[in-house]
C-alpha cells in the first residue's frame, strides 16, 4: 500500500512538471506561432491570386474581409454580414442585418479595427456590445475580397470540409467572374502517399481555370491522369524548357473544362476536395451577388 502511494505521488509530480514545461513553452511561443500562421495565409492568398516574384502584387492591394454571422432573435433566424465600409477615408466595420431572403432589416456600426476584426474572439467581444440581449449570434464563415486600384481583383475563400480522415482546411480563390484561380490546401490529415496527394500540384492545379458554369457540374473521374496534362500541371516544378509556351497554351485549351482526375487509390479524398471546393465557391457566388444588390440599394459605401 505504501509503495502505491509513492508511485502515484512520483507520477503525479512528473506529470505536473512536464505539463508546466509544455504549458510555459506554449504560452511563450503562441504569439510568434500565430504571426507565422497569418504570414502563411497571407502568402498563400497572394500566390493564389497569381502574385509572386515574376508578377509583384500592386502596392495598393488590400484584403477586405467579410464575416457572416447567423443571428437568433427570439427563436427567429436572421443573417448578419459584418462588412468593411469606408468613412472619411478610414475603413470601419458595419453589421448589416438581413432576413433569410436577403431583405434589408437594419445596420449598425461595430466598434472594431480591421486588424482586431481578424480575431474571432475580438469580434465576439465587439459584437456583444452592439447586439440586443435577445439576439444571440454565431459565426458562420468569412470571405476575403482582394481590392486593387479601386477594383475587385479576386476573392479568397477559407473553407473547411470533411475529408477521408478529418477536416481539410483549404483556401479557394476565384476571379471577379467566379472563375477558379486556384486551390491551396492549408491543413489536412489524409494518409501519406494516398489522400495526402491532394496538396500536390498535379491534383490541386486541376482546379485552376474552371469556369463558374463548369463548376456547377464538375465531377471526379476515375481515369489515369494523361501524361501531358500531368506535365502541364506540374510545370512549375519541372526544369525550364520541358514544355514550350505553345505546348502549354495548347494543353491548357484542351483541358480547360476537364473534370477532376481522381488521385490513384484515393477517390474519396479527391471527391471530398472537389465537392468541398464546389460547395464553398457556389455558395459564395450566390451570397456575394445577393449581398452586393442589398448594399447597392441601401447606398452603403463599402470598402471592397
Amino acid at each position: 500500500m505504501k509503495e502505491i502511494i509513492k508511485i502515484t505521488f512520483a507520477l503525479t509530480i512528473s506529470c505536473v512538471v512536464a505539463a508546466s514545461a509544455m504549458g510555459l513553452t506554449y504560452t511563450l511561443t503562441a504569439k510568434a506561432k500565430k504571426h507565422n500562421h497569418h504570414m502563411n495565409v497571407q502568402n498563400a492568398m497572394l500566390d493564389l491570386l497569381g502574385y509572386g516574384e515574376d508578377n509583384p502584387a500592386p502596392s495598393d492591394l488590400e484584403f477586405m474581409r467579410i464575416y457572416r454571422y447567423i443571428i437568433d432573435e427570439d427563436g427567429k433566424k436572421i443573417m448578419g454580414y459584418m462588412v468593411p465600409v469606408e468613412k472619411n477615408g478610414d475603413v470601419n466595420y458595419e453589421m448589416i442585418l438581413l432576413d433569410l431572403e436577403y431583405n434589408f432589416i437594419n445596420k449598425f456600426d461595430v466598434p472594431i479595427s480591421p486588424e482586431e476584426a481578424q480575431e474571432v474572439h475580438d469580434r465576439a467581444k465587439a459584437l456583444e456590445q452592439v447586439f440586443a440581449p435577445n439576439q444571440s449570434f454565431s459565426y458562420a464563415d468569412a470571405a476575403v475580397v482582394a481590392v486593387a486600384g479601386g477594383k475587385r481583383v479576386g476573392y479568397v475563400l477559407p473553407g473547411q470540409f470533411p475529408g477521408f480522415r478529418t477536416f481539410i482546411h483549404a483556401l479557394v480563390a476565384m476571379d471577379p467572374s467566379f472563375e477558379l484561380l486556384g486551390l491551396e490546401v492549408m491543413e489536412h490529415e489524409e494518409d501519406a502517399g494516398l489522400g495526402a496527394e491532394i496538396e500536390e500540384d498535379y491534383f490541386k492545379n486541376q482546379f485552376v481555370g474552371v469556369t463558374y458554369d463548369k463548376l456547377k457540374t464538375l465531377e471526379v473521374v476515375k481515369k489515369p491522369l494523361p501524361e501531358e496534362y500531368k506535365k502541364y500541371l506540374e510545370r512549375e516544378q519541372l526544369k525550364e524548357g520541358a514544355l514550350t509556351k505553345e505546348q502549354i497554351d495548347e494543353i491548357r485549351k484542351k483541358y480547360k473544362n476537364a473534370d477532376i482526375y481522381a488521385i490513384t487509390a484515393s477517390t474519396i479524398s479527391s471527391k471530398a476536395v472537389t465537392d468541398g471546393v464546389k460547395n464553398v465557391a457556389k455558395k459564395f457566388a450566390y451570397r456575394i451577388n445577393k449581398l452586393d444588390d442589398v448594399l447597392d440599394k441601401q447606398n452603403i459605401e463599402i470598402a471592397f
Binding site: E3, K6, I7, A10, L11, S14, C15, A18, A21, M22, T25, Y26, T29, A30, K31, A32, K33, N36, M39, N40
Partner: protein, 205 residues
C-alpha cells in the same frame, strides 16, 4: 555512482561506430527503413533525434536518483514527449522554414526506441557530463547511419545527392521503394560487422 570506466572520447566514438544505433544496436529500424530515401531526410531526422536525445539524456541523468524504479519507462516517455513538444513548439514559432521540413519528423520521435534505450541503459545510471556525451554520440551515430543509407539509396534510386543531379539518370528506382530499405540496412550491417572483424583481427595479430 558511475558504472562506466570509458573516457568521454570513447563514449562519443562508440555511439558513432562501435555501438551505432542503426548498424550495431539495430534500434529505431522503422525510420531507418522508411525515411532513409534521401540524404536530406537523413540530416533532418538525425538533427531532430540528436537534440531530443541530448536533452532527454541530460534531464534523466539529473533526476536519476529520484526516479522510482517501477515507473522508469513512463518517466522516460514523459520526458521524451515533453522535449519533443517543446522543440516542436519552438521550431514552429521561431524557425518556420525548418519546421515545415522537420515538423513531421520531430513528432515521430516520441516513439523512437533508441532514445528510450539510451535513457534506460545509460543516462539513468551515469552523471550529467557522461550522459551528455553519450547523447551526442548516439544522436550523431544515428545521423551518420541515416545519411549513409540516404547516400546509397538516393544515389542508386534517383541518381541524385541532396537533390543535385549526379548521375543524370535513375539507375534503379527499386532503391527508393520501402522494401529496398531492408536490403540496404542489411548490407550495411554486414559491412560494418565485416570491418569490425577485420579491425579486431589485425589488432590481435
Amino acid at each position: 555512482m558511475s558504472t562506466t570506466t570509458k573516457s568521454y572520447g570513447q563514449l562519443f566514438m562508440d555511439g558513432i561506430l562501435k555501438e551505432n544505433p542503426i548498424f550495431k544496436l539495430a534500434l529505431s529500424m522503422c525510420p531507418a527503413v522508411g525515411i532513409s530515401t534521401s540524404v536530406m531526410n537523413g540530416i533532418l531526422l538525425g538533427t531532430a533525434v540528436l537534440f531530443v536525445q541530448v536533452f532527454s539524456s541530460c534531464t534523466i541523468s539529473l533526476v536519476r536518483n529520484y526516479i522510482h524504479p517501477k515507473i522508469r519507462i513512463p518517466t522516460y516517455t514523459l520526458t521524451i514527449a515533453t522535449w519533443v513538444t517543446v522543440i516542436d513548439l519552438v521550431l514552429a514559432a521561431y524557425v518556420p522554414v525548418a519546421y515545415k521540413a522537420m515538423g513531421m519528423f520531430v513528432r515521430l520521435i516520441v516513439a523512437f526506441a533508441i532514445i528510450t534505450m539510451r535513457l534506460e541503459m545509460f543516462a539513468c545510471k551515469e552523471p550529467l557530463g557522461k550522459s551528455f556525451v553519450d547523447g551526442v554520440g548516439m544522436g550523431l551515430g544515428f545521423m551518420v547511419g541515416m545519411v549513409t543509407l540516404g547516400v546509397v539509396r538516393e544515389l542508386l534510386g534517383s541518381g541524385e545527392l541532396l537533390g543535385y543531379d549526379i548521375l543524370g539518370f535513375q539507375p534503379l528506382l527499386f532503391f527508393i521503394l520501402p522494401s529496398a530499405g531492408f536490403f540496404v540496412v542489411g548490407l550495411m550491417m554486414g559491412f560494418f560487422n565485416w570491418i569490425e572483424v577485420k579491425y579486431n583481427r589485425r589488432k590481435e595479430g
